[in-house]
């Protein structure tokens, strides 16, 4: 039986020096490569965008192809917080607590119009965008976005993860960003 129809693509190795029995590159690139392909997302789904995420996780769109088959329902083990849906002001402190419980390095993806800006819910009870309480790395627009758009957002996150400097989380700029949100 031929397995010629099975197309397996491996992650591309970073640029480096190669010889017999060794391959040399920078640690940062190796860590970035490993992290990029093993992101554990924490779904914070409150409404219809969460349904689109379920489709994204399912067999047809298959988020597992991107190394994210393992969802983490504990923030302590998660790398990526995916906020999908309307966040009421009363939910704000809970979302913030979930973010604070995540270990560094952590990334945040805001999925859908409501999470990004409050969406159609321009009203006294709804948070007008989660970036008012936690820093966001990638915004996915749409009401709700299709699974393809969510996958595109995941790939944007992967790009950030891959290229992030190992020292970024210790930098004064990053600390200033967190301080702006009153974290730590």
């Amino acid at each position: 039986m031929s397995d010629a129809h099975v197309k397996v693509s491996l992650a591309e190795k970073p640029p480096g020096l190669e010889g017999t029995g060794f391959f040399a590159t920078s640690l940062e690139k190796v860590v970035g490569l490993a992290r990029k392909n093993s992101i554990w997302p924490l779904p914070f789904a409150t409404s219809c965008c969460g349904i689109e995420f379920m489709a994204t996780m399912g067999a047809h769109y298959d988020l597992a192809r991107f190394g994210s088959e393992r969802l983490s329902f504990s923030p302590r083990q998660a790398d990526l917080l995916m906020v999908m849906g309307t966040i009421a002001k009363k939910m704000g402190p809970i979302l913030r607590q979930v973010y604070e419980q995540m270990a560094e390095p952590r990334w945040v993806m805001s999925v859908g119009a409501c999470a990004c800006s409050g969406g159609i819910f321009d009203t006294y009870s709804v948070l007008q965008g989660i970036d008012r309480i936690i820093p966001v790395d990638v915004y996915v627009p749409g009401c709700p976005p299709r699974p393809e758009q969510i996958l595109d957002g995941i790939m944007k996150i992967q790009h950030l993860v891959e290229t992030e400097s190992l020292r970024r989380r210790d930098s004064p700029e990053y600390k200033a960003l967190l301080n702006k949100y009153g974290v730590e």
Binding site: K89, K90, G92, S117, G118, D122, T123, Y124, S125, V126, Q128, R132
Partner: protein
Amino acid sequence: MESAEQNPTLNLLTGQFGDAVLSADVRYGMLTISVRQAAIIDVISFLYDHPRLQYRYLTTLCGIHHPELNQIAVMYQLHSFQNNRRVRLKIWLPEDNPETPTVTNLFAGANWMERETYDFFGVTFTGHPDLRRILNVEDMTIFPMRKEYPLEDQTREDKSDEMFGRSGVGSGQ
């Protein structure tokens, strides 16, 4: 459909309370009675205890703001399972100090309904066991369903009134 005058509930109420019954009519098939605020507990107790009426279920309770009257109404909707009849009672409170006794002594289920009415309209239910906000954030300073408060979120900065056909309102034109 019977008119308000033919309704036995109304007749018994007016017989018992006289001028505490302010007005009555049938709206959307349901008898609606405005009652003097001071009599509301007695009226609801009467409807509850009366052997023929037996309004023993509080379907809902809520506030209504009438800015043109400077009044806040509180609406009680009662249901008699015995007779399969419904009745709607309204009391009228002044906008600046809406206060009325609780009905939680009669209906335990009124607890959360009265908290919701307090949360959105600022109606104080005296004697309520735990009168605090129920749906909105605890540190909210307004009663958002009162019409003097704008529905839109006032913390939003990305909206230009011109984009919403409201130029001249705060847009500097």
